[in-house]
C-alpha cells in the first residue's frame, strides 16, 4: 500500500487521476525562483514554449536570453553567467543538451564549476511521435560519470517543481530531466522532495508479509511500477516500490538496505539500461551487497515514432513488463 508518511496522492489509482507534464512543473518552479531570487536567469535554444520557460520569459524579459538554435553557445554563455554571480538555467531537449553540447558542458560548466542548471527536456521514448532523434535515452549515462554534478529526475509535475526550486538553491551544476507528455500525479504539495534520498512509495501493509522484491523507479515510469505492485499484491506477491528522484549522488545506504530486506531488485527507467538508473543501483549493490537484479528500460535499441502508451508497451517498460521482471528476479533468488 502507499506509504502514508509521504502524503502521496491517494487518488493516484483512480480512473480520473490528475495528469500533468513534468516540464510544466519546471516552468512553474522557474517563475517561483525568479520571484524570490534575482540571480536566476534562463536561457533557451529556440524551444521556449515546449520547455515551458515562456512564463518566466514574459515575467522577467531582462533575465531571459534567447540563444537561437545553438546549444553549445547556450551552455558556454550559461557558464559565463554562472561564474559571474548568476544562477543560470539552460533549457533544451536532452537529445541536444547535454546531447549535442556534451563537451562544452563538461569543460565550461562541470569542470569549471559554474552555477548552471541543465534542463534536459523530452527525455525518453515517451517523447513519442517525434521519433528516436528526439528521444534522449542516453543522457543519464553520458553525464552520470562526471564528478561535480547532481542529477534530479522528478516522477511527476509536482515533484518537478520542487526539484527545480531545489536545484536553484544549490550552488553548482545540476542536471534536471523532464518528459513531454502529461502523466499521473503521484505526489502532493506536502510530499517531501527526495533530494539525495530514495523514498519508498509502496510497501506491504502491517502484517502483510515480507516484500520479496524492491522496485527502484525513475521519472514518470514509477507509476507503472506502482500499478504493477498493486496487481502483484492481488496475486500474493508483496513488493517495495521506491522513487529515485536523485540519481546522483545515489542514496547508496537506502538502496543497500532495501535490497537486503528483499533480496531481489528491479530497476525501471525510460532510458537505455546501460549506464542509467539500473547501472547506478547495480554499482551501489555490487560494492557491498550483490543482489539478483532485473533491468526494465530500453534494451540496447533506439525507439521510434508512436504514442507514449504504444511505445512503453512495445519496448517493455509498462506495468506488465515490470511484473514480468519481478517474477523473473524472484525465480532467480532460488
Amino acid at each position: 500500500m502507499l506509504n502514508s508518511d509521504l502524503k502521496l496522492n491517494e487518488k493516484m489509482f483512480d480512473k480520473d487521476v490528475a495528469l500533468d507534464a513534468t516540464r510544466s512543473g519546471y516552468g512553474k518552479g522557474l517563475v517561483e525562483l525568479g520571484d524570490t531570487d534575482p540571480s536566476v536567469v534562463v536561457l533557451s535554444a529556440d524551444l521556449t514554449e515546449s520547455t515551458k520557460v515562456e512564463e518566466f520569459a514574459k515575467k522577467y524579459p531582462e533575465r531571459f536570453f534567447e540563444m537561437g538554435v545553438a546549444e553549445q553557445n547556450m551552455a558556454a554563455i550559461g557558464a559565463g553567467l554562472g561564474i559571474s554571480g548568476k544562477t543560470a538555467f539552460i533549457s533544451s531537449y536532452a537529445a541536444f543538451s547535454p546531447g549535442k553540447n556534451w563537451e562544452t558542458i563538461r569543460t565550461t560548466i562541470i569542470y569549471n564549476d559554474a552555477n548552471v542548471k541543465i534542463a534536459g527536456h523530452h527525455a525518453g521514448i515517451m517523447t513519442g511521435p517525434d521519433g528516436a532523434t528526439h528521444q534522449a535515452t542516453e543522457d543519464i549515462a553520458s553525464i552520470r560519470a562526471w564528478p561535480n554534478i547532481k542529477v534530479f529526475v522528478p516522477c511527476d509535475a509536482i515533484e518537478a517543481k520542487k526539484a527545480t526550486i531545489a536545484a536553484g538553491k544549490i550552488k553548482g551544476p545540476v542536471y534536471l530531466r523532464f518528459s513531454r507528455d502529461k502523466t499521473p500525479i503521484m505526489t502532493t504539495e506536502d510530499t517531501p522532495f527526495g533530494e539525495g534520498k530514495v523514498q519508498t512509495f509502496w510497501n506491504p501493509p502491517a502484517g502483510g508479509g515480507n516484500p520479496q522484491v524492491v522496485i527502484f523507479g525513475m521519472g514518470y515510469l514509477l507509476y507503472q511500477a506502482l500499478l504493477a505492485a498493486k496487481e502483484l499484491k492481488t496475486e500474493g506477491i508483496e513488493v517495495l516500490v521506491a522513487n529515485v528522484a536523485t540519481v546522483k549522488p545515489m542514496d547508496e545506504q537506502t538502496v543497500v538496505e532495501l535490497a537486503k530486506q528483499t533480496g531481489a531488485v528491479v530497476s525501471v527507467e525510460d532510458h537505455q539500461i546501460a549506464g542509467g538508473l539500473g547501472g547506478a543501483i547495480a554499482e551501489a549493490l555490487a560494492k557491498t551487497n550483490p543482489t539478483p537484479m532485473e533491468f526494465v528500460g530500453l534494451q540496447n535499441v533506439f525507439g521510434e515514432s508512436g504514442t507514449p502508451a504504444e511505445l512503453i508497451k512495445k519496448y517493455k517498460m509498462d506495468k506488465d513488463a515490470v511484473k514480468t521482471a519481478v517474477k523473473t528476479v524472484i525465480a532467480r533468488k532460488k
Partner: protein, 286 residues
C-alpha cells in the same frame, strides 16, 4: 579609458615582453611538454594587458570590479602564467611546477586551481561564449568592468565561435572586446591550407562587429586599438592582432612545427641567447 603610452613606458613594456619570452622558454624546458609558438607570439599583448590595460589587483584576484581577461585558446597558457607571475599573482619560482603533479599551473588553465584564471579552457571555441555570459551579467548588474577575450585564429574553425559572434552582436555587447592571435598557424599546418579563415575581417564585419586590425607586436598600436574598442557603443569589438608565432626566436618564427612542442636543452639555450641579446639592446636603447 586607458592611458596613452609614452616612450619610457613603451621601452619598459618591451623589455618585460622579452623577459616574459625568456621565462616562457625556461618554463617549457622545465615542463618538458607544452606549446612554444603561441606563447612567444602573444608575449607583447599579455604584457600590455597585465602591465597597462587591465584594471586588476594581483593581491586580490577575485576583486569584483576587475576587468576580465578570458583566455579561450588555453594551450598558450604558459605566457599567461609567466605574465601573471611577473605581475605578482604568485611567485616566479612556481612556474617550475607547470604541468607537474599537484601544481596550480595545469597544462591547460583551470579556473578553480589558480586565482586570477577566469575560465577553464583548452577545448577550443568556448571562450567567447563564456565572455558573453560575463558581459551579460555585467550589464544586468550595471557593472563597469570590461571583458576581454583572447582567441586563436585556428579556433575560428569551431562552429561554436560563430554561434557566439551572432549572440554578442544580438545583445550589443560593447563591454566585450575579442582579440584574435592571427598567427596563421595551427597544429596541422598553415591555417589557410588546413581550413581557410580569410577574409576574417569581412566575416566579423558581416556579423556586425566593430573590427580593427593591428600589428600584435607593436605595443603602442595595440594599446591604441584597445582604446578605440572601449569607445565603441552598441557593438562588440574585435582586434585582429597579426602576430609572428615563435616571435623573438628566429628558428621558431613562423614555423607551425613549433606550435605544440617545447624546446630541448640545446634549443632553449640557443633561443635564450638570442633573447638576452635582444634584451641587452633594448636596455641600451639601441
Amino acid at each position: 579609458m586607458i592611458d596613452d603610452l609614452f616612450d619610457e613606458k613603451i621601452k619598459d613594456l618591451e623589455l618585460k615582453a622579452v623577459q616574459a619570452r625568456e621565462l616562457v622558454l625556461e618554463t617549457l624546458l622545465e615542463a618538458g611538454s607544452g606549446h612554444s609558438a603561441g606563447p612567444l607570439g602573444m608575449a607583447d599583448i599579455f604584457i600590455a594587458f597585465y602591465f597597462h590595460i587591465l584594471k586588476h589587483n594581483p593581491k586580490n584576484p577575485d576583486w569584483a570590479e576587475r576587468d576580465r581577461l578570458v583566455l579561450s585558446n588555453g594551450h598558450i597558457c604558459p605566457i599567461r602564467y609567466v605574465v601573471m607571475a611577473m605581475a605578482g599573482y604568485f611567485p616566479i619560482e612556481e612556474l617550475k611546477t607547470l604541468r607537474k603533479l599537484n601544481s596550480r599551473l595545469q597544462g591547460h588553465p583551470h579556473r578553480t586551481a589558480l586565482p586570477g584564471v577566469e575560465t577553464t579552457s583548452g577545448p577550443l571555441g568556448e571562450g567567447i561564449s563564456q565572455a558573453i555570459g560575463m558581459a551579460l551579467a555585467a550589464k544586468l548588474d550595471a557593472k563597469k568592468y570590461h571583458i576581454y577575450c583572447l582567441t586563436s585564429d585556428g579556433e575560428h574553425q569551431e562552429g561554436n565561435t560563430w554561434e557566439a559572434l551572432m549572440a554578442a552582436a544580438k545583445y550589443k555587447l560593447d563591454n566585450l572586446t575579442v582579440v584574435i592571435d592571427r598567427n596563421n598557424i595551427q597544429i596541422d599546418g598553415f591555417t589557410e591550407n588546413v581550413m581557410p579563415l580569410e577574409y576574417l575581417k569581412a566575416k566579423y564585419e558581416a556579423f556586425n562587429w566593430h573590427v580593427q586590425e593591428v600589428d600584435g607586436h607593436n605595443i603602442r598600436a595595440f594599446n591604441d586599438s584597445v582604446s578605440q574598442a572601449l569607445a565603441v557603443h552598441q557593438k562588440p569589438s574585435v582586434i585582429i592582432a597579426n602576430t609572428i608565432p615563435g616571435k623573438g626566436v628566429d628558428f621558431m618564427e613562423n614555423k607551425f612545427e613549433w606550435h605544440g612542442k617545447p624546446p630541448n636543452k640545446e634549443e632553449a639555450a640557443k633561443a635564450l641567447d638570442e633573447l638576452r641579446t635582444l634584451q641587452g639592446k633594448i636596455e641600451k636603447g639601441q
